[in-house]
Amino acid sequence: MTRLIQGNQACALGAIAAGCRFFGGYPITPSSEIAESMARLLPQNDGVFVQMEDEIASLASVIGASLGGVKAMTATSGPGFSLMQEHIGYAAMAEVPCVIIDVMRGGPSTGLPTSPSQGDVMQVRWGTHGDRPCIALAPHSVKEVFDLTVEAFNLSERYRTPVVVVYDEVVGHLREGVDLPATVPTIDRSKPEPGLDPYLPKAVSEGVVAPLAAFGDGYRFHVTGLTHDERGFPTTDPTRAGALASRLQNKVDGSFVDMVESFMLDDADVAIFAYGIVARAAKEAIRLARSEGIKVGLLRPIALWPFPTSSVHSVAAQVDRIVVAELNLGQMIGEVERASGGLAQITGLHKADGSPISPQSLLEAITNRIEVAS
C-alpha cells in the first residue's frame, strides 16, 4: 500500500520497524514530527516515550535505556545537536548503541529554524572532543529516510557505537508516496554467554566489538566515559589508553564499506558530488545537461562518515572535474579534495541562505566551468 508521508514520519516508522522501543527527546524545529510520531507509535508497540528537559538529558536517557538492553534513539536539529556532543562522545567511548537523528536547519546559533541547511556535516564528524569513530547516514528521499533509519540501528548494534542519521529540513518535511515493507532485516547486539567469570565488557575476542550485557540480566559490570581497560574500569596506563583509542577508531574504519550511489557516472566527464536534497536537484540537473549533450553523473555519499574515500578517488581518476554542491559554505568539499589527490579539478557550489540549490544553478555550475558564489 502506498502511503503519503513526510520524511520525519518515515524516520519514526523506520525506527519502530528496526526495533526501537525507547525515545527520549526535546522539541525542536524541524525535527519535532519525529518526537510527535514516536509519542504515538511507542505506546502502541510496548515502548516508552519521554520528553526530557533538554537535549543533553535526551541523549543521556537514550544511553541509559540502551544499557538496559532496549534499542533507543533521539532526534533533534542543530542547536540541540550541539548540546548532545558530550554524550555522543560518551556513547562512543562506553560503546553504547544508540541512534541520533539530526534534521539540519540554518545556523550558526538559532539561525534559520524553518529552512534547510547542510551545515552540520562536519559537526557530525568532529563535534565531540577526542578521537572516535563516526557513522553518519544521509538520506535524500522519504523512503530512504525509512531505510537508513533501520540501517542506523543495525550499524549501531553491530558496532556498539552511536550512529547519526543526518538530513536537511526539506527531506524532513518532504511528502512522498512510499511503499514501506512489513518487516525489515534487523541486527541485535551480541550478548555474552551466561556463566562467564569474569564477564569483560570491553574485551574483544571475535568480531569488531565485545558482547554487551544489559543491566539487570545477571552480569554486574562497570560502564564509564573515562579511559578504561577490558573490565571497563578506569586506567591511565598509556599502553591501555592507546590501545582503546585505536580499537575504537579501527573497529569502524577497518571494516566499513563505502555507501554511495553512482548515478549516470559510467561515461561522465564531470561528476557532481552531492547528498541529501541537493542530490535530488543534481539528478534533475544531470538530465538537463545530458539533453544538451554534456556527460555528467552524480556520486552521492549515502554514508557521509566514514567518508567514501576510495569511491571519490575512483571517480576523480575518471572525470575531469568534480562539482561539490552543498547547503553550507564549503564543508565536505575539503574531504573530496583530499580523496581526489589532485586527479580532478574540484569546484564548489555552496550557499547558506536557507534556500535550496536549484537544478538550474547546478546546470550553470556544470556548463560555465566557473565557481559559482551564492
Binding site: 543521556a60 536517557s61 544511553i63 535505556a65 543491566f215 539487570g216
Partner: protein, 269 residues
Amino acid sequence: MTDVRKYLREWAMPTVLCPGCAHGTVLHAFLDAVDEMQLDTDKLAMVAGIGCSSRLIGYVDMCTLHTTHGRAPAFATGLKLARPDLEVVVITGDGDGLAIGGNHLIHAARRNIDMTVLLFNNGIYGMTGGQVAPTTALGAKGTTAPFGSSEAPFDPCKLMTGAGASFVARALASKPQVLKSVIVEAVTHTGFSFVEVMTTCPTYYGRYNGIGGGSEMLAWLNRQDDSVAIALADKRSVDHISIPPIMTGLPTGVLHREERRVFTGRVSA
C-alpha cells in the same frame, strides 16, 4: 555494622579518596542498608556523575554506570523507564547535582520516577581542587573564593521538595547508623527519594576554613546538627549559630514524605 566486603570490587581498590574523607563511611552506610534490605545486587543499578562521590560506584559489585558531569539523573531516567525491574540509585555530589546537573535533578523529582538520589554535600568541589559550590556557606573559603564566598547557597532539601520529590531527607556522615536508616526508608519509598548526605572534605573545606582534618570535621558536623536541633527546639532562628562557616544550619531527618503518582513512561495507547 555488617561485613560489606561481599558488595565491593576489592580488586579495584585502593580508592581515589583522600585520607580522612567521610565518603567511605557514607558508602559503608549505604551497603549496610543494602544488606539490611537484602537487595538483589544483580538488579541494583548505581548511576553516578563526575566528582569524588560519583567515583564510589566503581568500587561496588553492582551494575554501575559512571556518566558525565551532572547528568546522572537523566541517564538513570532512561534506564529506569526502560527497565522498571531495576532498583536505581543515583550517587551525586553538590556541584554535580546542584550546579551543572540542577536541571536534571529537579525534573527527575518532578516526574517522581521511582529512584533514589544520594547527594553527597561537602560544600565544595573536591576533585577539581577546592572551588566553591552552590552549597558553599556564605563567607566560607575555597580556591575560587579566596576572600570567602559572597553567594547565597542552596537549601537542597527545600529545592527538591519544591520540585516534587516525594521523599526528602537530610542525614550526616558523622551519624552512620541514622544515615543507614534514612537510606533504607528512601530506597523503600515508592517514588523519587532524595537524601542530602552532609559529608566532609578535609583536604579543601576543612583546611581552607580552619576546621581541621577528618575527625575534626565529623565532630564539626555533629556540632552543627546539635546546635540546629537546640535552636529549633527553642523555636529560635538558626541564624545566631556561631560555628563558622556552617554548611547548612538546617535540620536533619526525614523532612518530607508523600504518596504521589509515579511516572513510568508506560501509557495505554
